[in-house]
Symmetry: C4
Subunit: 195 residues, 4 copies
């Protein structure tokens, strides 16, 4: 089985998920007058939630892109592991909208972290199912290595969700930290493939 | 005629259908306060409807992917048979939203089954129109074989719709059963192509 | 310049246009009770408008697919002629929604015809701009020939719009007739390419 | 790293952004009667905003297409420069909708210009990050040259935003002027690649 259509379908879903999030950023409506800069200022929690989720989806797209460049074989289990990842990522617009509209209240911030945690775990499972089809000395296996970043992220999401129950802004801070850790594209794969 | 653009267009439509369904999962709004975990709990029928439809669309994408890997020739009739399938699948978000919002009431559950039945029948017609362009000993024809799963699904959808009139939850149970039957990817094609 | 990305972008836009139309088919909401089959029956004008537009977009996708199979060279003018076609097709969901919600009243039916007319004219311009890059004895030029179907469609749209002012249903009848004329895929190109 | 998936993902996002803008053009609803041509006339600011943004996104797609035809190597920084461009372009539907619904009032016109400015600057950064991976005598470097059009556009956006504070229509006029300047596809690249 070749990986082309899996990549195309994933690109399609990610492109749509990243774009429909902006639909949650509703055009301000008000009785009589709604074309003021002050109307716009009220949108900043929605806008900053959107920006954070955009960065997260960009990270997933980048990592997915890097990951599948090292992949040579795709089996049936990988198709479902990939769909499982897309399922959780497709819930991000909902979690983003709820968080933005409620100005980073406890429950939405915790839900947002839970969706990130589920997506992170799904990515971990996808990597595992890919490794099962590749040898231990394949470029993919070498590029993944111990996957410290992936495991650390899962721990940090749990920490973020826990902290959010005390102070929602701390949760957001931890999620932003994880995004920053990943903003550096997966150089392991780039480096390994470069050789 | 080559099959590349048909696959790309189908991937596009399926990616959009699978993603816009999540737009039916409206961010909870309430007077004053809507950022509670209890608001989220009310969404479980919408969420579980979404999850079931996501699995169904994943199955269709997987089977479509497998099917067209064995295809070598595509004629004009196949283009329309494929669009016919996409038409019914494009109605799934509507049926999903109606079912979720009405907590699995009779009419929405029956409609959901009817859309699944129509899509299943359209897939059957697509397979037939593809077989008409391939020899009886082609990999495609061997891989499809007697298409027992496809025929059984159509019967089960009818059973599910009928049972839904008595007890909607039984209908959902049957639709879930069909999804489980298909969750195993179409190993027939994988096996035949493997040789 | 190669045509691959133009095809991919067109497929993307057409896939989205064909799919977001279904968002106009709103899940029925009513005070207290909205999960009845009677609620569904009220949706038939929206549903039949959707079905007609789906067929039209399917025809455009099919013809676009056939057309570009015969194309060997794409210039800058073709990119814009193609975007111009996509612009009018992107207005079809709006026209479809307005027509369906107003039960085929005069103004929406006339607007629907106007969008079809503009799209048909844009397709004609696209074909002209492609022919300008190909010789008179190229497969493309032979396949297009006198383009009788294309010209007839434009005339019929005008007739349909005019008739709609007298009796909206006659307009719909003419638009449906044009769709039926085109449902046969562009065999001219298939036949010519077959040689 | 090959550029295929970057192009495909960008095409996907641009196709969705260009299409979901039309969702802002809401089907007119009114008590009792809303199927009049006069209801349609009220939509002209929304329609003309949509048309302007469609042209802008078409320009970006065309230029992106031309740009990446000359590209031979893509690094990790380019992936993020590209996502940064897509981020600003994804905000165009929101700015378009706000501007159209408020009949070209000051704040929305200024915001629209700000989004165009940010997108223009992001495109400039993308070109820079691509040049960093290519030699000074590569086809890409020659095709870009001094990038006078790109720099002029940024200046004109600032002028447009400033003028909008005095007279919103002047802002729109300047944005339209920039679109006209770019409507001519990037012949520099076409010419250079032609040799």
């Amino acid at each position: 089985m070749h990986k082309g259509r899996l990549e195309a379908f994933s690109d399609g879903v990610l492109a749509i998920v990243i774009t429909i999030m902006v639909l949650e950023m509703k055009v301000p409506h008000a009785e009589g007058h709604s074309a003021d800069f002050t109307d716009l200022q009220k949108l900043w929690p929605v806008f900053s939630s959107y920006a954070l989720s955009f960065v997260y989806l960009g990270i997933y797209w980048n990592n997915h892109h890097h990951l599948f460049q090292a992949v040579t074989r795709v089996g049936g289990g990988v198709l479902w592991a990939n769909l499982h990842l897309l399922f959780w990522l497709s819930l991000l617009p909902f979690a983003t909208g709820w968080m933005g509209e409620n100005h980073f209240a406890l429950a939405p911030v915790a839900l947002y972290g839970a969706v990130l945690l589920a997506a992170g775990f799904a990515y971990y499972l996808l990597v595992r199912s890919l490794l099962a089809h590749h040898d231990a000395d394949s470029p993919l296996a070498k590029a993944i290595g111990a996957d410290r970043k992936g495991k650390l992220s899962l721990v940090l999401y749990v920490v973020g969700i826990a902290l959010a129950h005390w102070q929602p802004w701390l949760g957001i801070g931890v999620y932003t930290l994880v995004a920053l850790i990943w903003l550096v594209p997966d150089r392991r794969i780039e480096r390994t493939l470069g050789h």
